[in-house]
Symmetry: C2
Subunit: 190 residues, 2 copies
């Protein structure tokens, strides 16, 4: 009896595994789930398309592996209350521009892929909402978190996905200040 097996954890296989993950992350973040083919990923990793399946089982499974964002947001209760907005925007920009983040991957795909959208909702509920909650009254917590998401995801959309020229050209410090102020009001409820 023969069965298709995923490679073991030898140094050799670990290198190709990493190469596939890296290529997949870059392409998924650039072209979205549907716009990225297994053959594209294989070409970028300089290996055979069959290896992608062999290592990760399926394109779906690879996507799920690569689109696991750990936002690593700061504990806002430790932050100066008046700096919550700017802190949030700053960390959000870091997350977006880092190599690691699964967030770009997800946002690219969420617009036309319901699974990715559901994942994004989960992340929001699990990581953003609880963070915002203690910054204001408990009754308004969901609304405040929703408003914050509105602004932060809009920033990511226009700057990194649509690449609207004025938003792309804004220096980081200006974004942190201007959008930070809006986020501050949303998060604290004034």
């Amino acid at each position: 009896m023969s069965m298709a097996r995923s490679p073991r954890s030898t140094p050799k296989s670990l290198r190709t595994r990493k190469a596939i993950e890296e290529a997949a992350r870059a392409l998924f973040a650039q072209d979205g789930y549907d716009g990225t083919t297994v053959r594209d990923i294989a070409a970028r990793a300089a290996i055979d398309p069959a290896m992608v399946i062999r290592y990760f089982g399926s394109k779906d499974a690879l996507f799920a592996r690569v689109a696991e964002p750990r936002l690593g947001l700061p504990d806002l209760t430790q932050v100066d209350r008046a700096a919550i907005g700017e802190t949030l925007v700053g960390h959000f920009l870091d997350q977006w521009e880092g190599k690691q983040g699964g967030l770009p991957v997800l946002l690219r795909s969420a617009a036309s892929n319901e699974d990715a959208a559901a994942r994004l909702r989960d992340i929001f509920a699990a990581q953003v909402a609880p963070l915002i909650a203690p910054a204001g009254s408990a009754a308004t917590a969901p609304r405040r978190a929703g408003l914050v998401a509105t602004q932060l995801l809009g920033l990511a959309l226009t700057r990194y996905v649509l690449k609207l020229p004025p938003v792309v050209e804004m220096p980081r410090e200006l974004i942190v200040r201007e959008i930070g102020a809006a986020v501050q009001r949303y998060a604290t409820g004034q």
Copy 2:
């Protein structure tokens, strides 16, 4: 010599043409460009897939036809200066929820389709930026328009595409008030 021709403008053909456009608009807005197939459109319009091509030449051409947003934004110079933000948000929500709008179609597709993204940039430059410009100093006009786009598109993304529960559940008047305030500050530069 025979050549494939698009149907003439008889009443009969006009009805099917409208049916195709309506089905296309609904599906493109729901699943994006890549997620929508010609066969899907045909099925919803209850006609043969070949008719879609026969009437519009190609899937691309049909998309271009259907994704032509005329925002019809109000002339902000005629509006009470303190109400610019709320007016903008209100019109934006109307546009989004109306049957006509090509905006949902575009946003769904722009994340994974560069052509759609370029179109959205054009619309922004042609329709939003000039509108915002006179609300503040000329030097900061692009920046102010960019910030407004950040917030308005983020609202659309979270409410209509990602469907984040707290944002979906917010009543219209609350959105107009809260987000209107942020847009107001962005548009006028305080």
